[in-house]
């Protein structure tokens, strides 16, 4: 079961054994260190050289060090120094980095430019060298060194806060808060600080570990604290001199240091897990990573006798079910037994509202469902071959050469790092086995075929250098590049302006007729259906509610959902009457 109160990540951390364990260790260490004067009122300095290197004795469970000092007392007082100074550095880093980062990200502009430049400058400084130089200049006063260390690690908080705030700045809810009249400081505390709180907590936990490590390293090099004051790093340094004779002395300070930092990092992991489980959090919108799934082969015989009849030779789907992995391994079915046929040269419109499963059905044809999704049953015949449960190699033979795919978003479907020409040439060489020069020539032909005026220039361009409509033409060229007989087009014009949409629809129609393509056209737009489709299947909530000729579906729909869809179309709704003055304004 999920935690009953999703708004309390702290409770979720403590419920996690990892989180509870590490929190307990940290509390224990902190308590021991804070209570040092009570546990060892004599301090750490009393030594008896006769006890040097002695093992555990009554009242001295950890034995004695090389100078005959009690190891436990050294650990407790050393911990005070190490943890306290690391805490100071962390505090300074937070005070400096967090507000400046938030403001830099939120206000952007000159403030951000100066702030980021300064941070890059600090980050270009090798921390250890600067600390050593600072010690040379400022003297071996630990407090000052920790302030320097705080400044040196402040960029990690600055960058984190700046990144979150800059992301949020583009969010509409920040715009909404501004329009609502909220002053900047209020937006920062109400919206931005809330979003940044969780990642900062995680980062603070990690940085605390780093700061402790740095403090100990300075102590190890004999720099931070004076010779007399104990610290974990200093203890390790002492022990290191006698590593061949008394290696056991390294154990206790090493263990204390390792345990504390490990507890901090595990706490960070637990925090991250707890926070990322909260859906909708702006900073953690990622979905849970599902386990790898393998497609389970389901024989075509699973379909009923009526279904088995009259299967199209090009694309025939029977009883297709698709499920997605949910949290805790439960699967959620999103497509429930879909039957579809696309015959050669036929355009089938797959229509439905968002979440109806139409895109999942289309991607199943390609065998390319997003991570976490899988076909759980049914049969998909392409060109007579069963693809459900087929291995990757068999599917690959069908992709490109038999089935082409036209995606929805033109820009995100082109790799920004490669030229248009090289992206189009790649499948030509891999699938059709063309040589470099032949492929390049064929790319120009393809671009010409999708009515691009200057194919040579476009082939040389990178995706960010062309318009959205042009990019969609390139994607269509890519889809038909290996001369498929079936095209799967997923909302191919939804992201485009209407006039570009009309051109792309014309292009699709011409290609479809010239090459006698079968076309599975996923769309929510009934106008597009009227424009292009021979037959239509209407989907709702993962199932097909009605299939028929386009004319029949649009003009004489049988299912109430199809009628509801048609009724919602505004084209024939009455135009609003002209404005007339109202005498007074009433209040809501």
């Amino acid at each position: 079961m999920r935690a009953p109160s999703p708004r309390s990540p702290l409770r979720a951390v403590l419920r996690n054994p990892l989180g509870a364990g590490s929190a307990a260790v940290l509390l224990l260490v902190l308590a021991a260190v804070l209570l040092a004067p009570v546990l060892r009122p004599g301090g750490a300095q009393s030594s008896n050289i006769l006890d040097a290197y002695d093992g555990a004795a009554a009242g001295h469970p950890f034995g004695f060090d090389g100078a005959g000092r009690d190891e436990l007392a050294m650990l407790l007082y050393g911990g005070r120094a190490t943890l306290g100074e690391a805490g100071l550095a962390l505090l300074i880093a937070l005070i400096l980095g967090l507000p400046l980062g938030l403001c830099a990200g939120y206000f952007a502009g000159r403030f951000d430019a100066v702030g980021s430049w300064a941070v890059n400058l600090v980050m270009a400084l090798p921390g250890m060298v600067v600390l050593l130089a600072a010690r040379a200049v400022l003297g071996p006063t630990t407090v000052v060194l920790m302030v320097v260390l705080g400044v040196l690690i402040a960029p990690s908080f600055f960058r984190l806060a700046r990144g979150v705030a800059a992301d949020l700045r583009g969010e509409l809810f920040i715009d909404a808060a501004r329009v609502a009249g909220l002053p900047a400081w209020r937006i920062l505390t109400r919206h931005v600080l809330v979003a940044v709180r969780a990642p900062v907590l995680i980062q603070a936990s990690l940085v605390a570990g780093v700061a402790i490590g740095m403090q100990a390293a300075l102590g190890f090099l004999g720099i931070s604290t004076g010779v007399s004051a104990p610290s974990w790093g200093g203890m390790l340094s002492d022990a290191y001199t006698s590593i061949y004779t008394h290696p056991i002395l390294m154990l206790w300070p090493g263990l204390a240091l390792g345990l504390t930092t490990a507890a901090l990092l595990l706490l960070a992991v637990a925090l991250r897990d707890a926070l990322e489980d909260r859906p909708g959090q702006a900073s953690a919108r990622r979905t849970r990573r599902p386990e790898p799934v393998r497609v389970v082969p389901t024989p075509a015989a699973a379909a009923g006798p009526a279904r088995a009849a009259a299967r199209s030779p090009l694309l025939s789907i029977r009883g297709l079910t698709v499920a997605y992995a949910g949290p805790q391994g439960a699967e959620r079915e999103v497509v429930h037994g879909v039957d579809l046929d696309v015959r050669p040269g036929e355009v089938l419109g797959l229509v439905g509202e968002s979440g109806s499963g139409k895109t999942q059905t289309a991607l199943s044809v390609l065998g390319l469902l997003p991570l976490g999704g899988r076909i759980t049953g049914g049969s998909v015949l392409i060109d007579g071959a069963e693809t459900v449960g087929a291995d990757e190699r068999a599917l690959r033979r069908l992709r490109g050469g038999v089935v082409g795919y036209v995606p929805q978003e033109p820009m995100s479907n082109l790799d920004p790092c490669f030229t248009i020409g090289s992206q189009l040439a790649e499948p030509l060489r891999a699938v059709l086995g063309l040589g470099r020069r032949e492929a390049a020539a064929r790319v120009l032909d393809l671009l010409r075929a999708v009515e691009i005026a200057d194919p040579a220039r476009v082939a040389r361009s990178y995706p960010h250098e062309i318009s959205g409509g042009m990019a969609q033409r390139v994607l269509i060229a890519g889809a038909v590049s290996c001369e498929p007989r079936l095209l799967v087009a997923d909302e191919p014009t939804t992201a485009l302006d209407v006039s570009v949409q009309a051109e792309i629809l014309d292009l699709l129609r011409r290609l479809q007729q010239d090459q006698n393509l079968g076309l599975l056209l996923v769309t929510h737009n009934l106008g597009v259906v009227a424009d292009l489709c021979d037959r239509v299947a209407v989907m709702r909530a993962g199932a097909i509610v009605e299939t028929g000729e386009a004319r029949q579906i649009l003009h004489a729909p049988e299912h109430e959902h199809t009628r509801a869809l048609l009724d919602a179309v505004l084209d024939d709704a009455p135009v609003r009457a002209p404005w007339q003055a109202r005498p007074t304004r009433s209040v809501a």
Partner: protein, 313 residues
């Protein structure tokens, strides 16, 4: 691309200038009475003043900085106040040690992180968990503690490699290898932990991009898409992190050189900075920062080469 290069170079030079000035300023502000330290407490006031004049410390700050800058750009970093040795020469002797350590570590880190990150990012599941745990552990466990562990286990206990000392590569390659292996291992662990995490998430992010599906829909194999498109897309963020880590490597080298008694820049930093020897400290800071700046420049150029869109900003 040329304009891009020129912009980055100008920014790098500006950065060097600002850091050198700030360091010089801070070092001069410190009230270290160098002449008194050199001459001892018994020296007369006039002798101290004379010594100060000899060191040029009686002149205004800006004039001293201009002098330092003028000779530094000609490769003359001055002489140590305390030993009288030529600073550039001393650094020239020690730099190869640190360079070989840092470069070996960078190569090992880049290769190991790429392999681990790709493995975790494409396979997910157990591989993912392993790299994640390694990542967090390497990030938070203090580097010098890991280094000590490595010395104890491989140097002291198993005696596979010498625990301390350095043999130059010019004298014996195998000798060099045996003395550099443990330090490189110690220095790489943390870096690999961080970078492999980065590669992993970059690979996962690119693999989830729409264009990867579109390319696969055209009949390209998953492997060729990963090797060509996913890797290239993931390289830019990974390189950025590698550049940032280089700064950390320099700091790590200080500790590692100290523990393994390697005669490099890092060990020199620990030994020679305690007494406020301004020419030496300035030289050390500048050498480190130049290293960082060069690496960042190289990273920027590589990213510009890999991703044409990055050249615009």
């Amino acid at each position: 691309m040329l304009a891009f290069l020129a912009r980055r170079l100008a920014a790098a030079v500006l950065l060097l200038f600002v850091i050198s000035f700030l360091s010089f300023l801070l070092l001069s502000l410190a009230q270290v009475d160098v002449a008194r330290q050199l001459l001892g407490l018994q020296a007369s006031a006039s002798a101290v003043a004379h010594e100060n004049a000899a060191l040029g410390l009686d002149r205004p700050l800006l004039a001293r900085y201009a002098d330092w800058l003028g000779s530094a750009v000609r490769g003359n970093l001055g002489t140590s106040w305390f030993t009288g040795q030529d600073v550039a020469q001393t650094i020239g002797q020690r730099l190869p040690v640190t360079l070989s350590l840092v470069l070996a570590t960078t190569v090992v880190t880049a290769i190991a992180s790429l392999a681990l990150g790709l493995w975790a990012g494409t396979r997910r599941g157990v591989a993912d968990r392993i790299v994640q745990i390694l990542g967090v552990a390497g990030y938070a466990l203090p580097g010098f503690l890991v280094t000590l562990l490595i010395v104890v286990v491989f140097g002291v206990d198993l005696k596979w490699f010498p625990a301390t000392g350095y043999i130059p590569i010019t004298r014996s390659f195998t000798g060099w290898l045996s003395t550099i292996t443990l330090p490189t291992l110690a220095l790489s662990l943390g870096a690999v932990a961080g970078l492999s995490q980065q590669v992993r998430s970059a690979v996962a992010a690119v693999a989830a991009q729409d264009y990867v599906r579109t390319l696969r829909a055209r009949g390209l194999s998953g492997r060729s898409v990963v090797l060509k498109h996913v890797l290239r897309g993931a390289c830019a963020p990974a390189l950025t992190v590698l550049g940032l880590q280089f700064v950390g490597l320099l700091g790590g080298a200080v500790v590692v050189e100290d523990i393994f008694a390697l005669p490099g820049i890092g060990a020199m930093t620990v030994a020679d900075t305690s007494d406020g020897d301004v020419p030496v400290i300035m030289a050390l800071v500048m050498v480190s920062v130049i290293g960082v700046v060069l690496i960042n420049l190289a990273v920027d150029l590589l990213i510009g080469l890999l991703n044409p869109k990055a050249r615009l900003t």
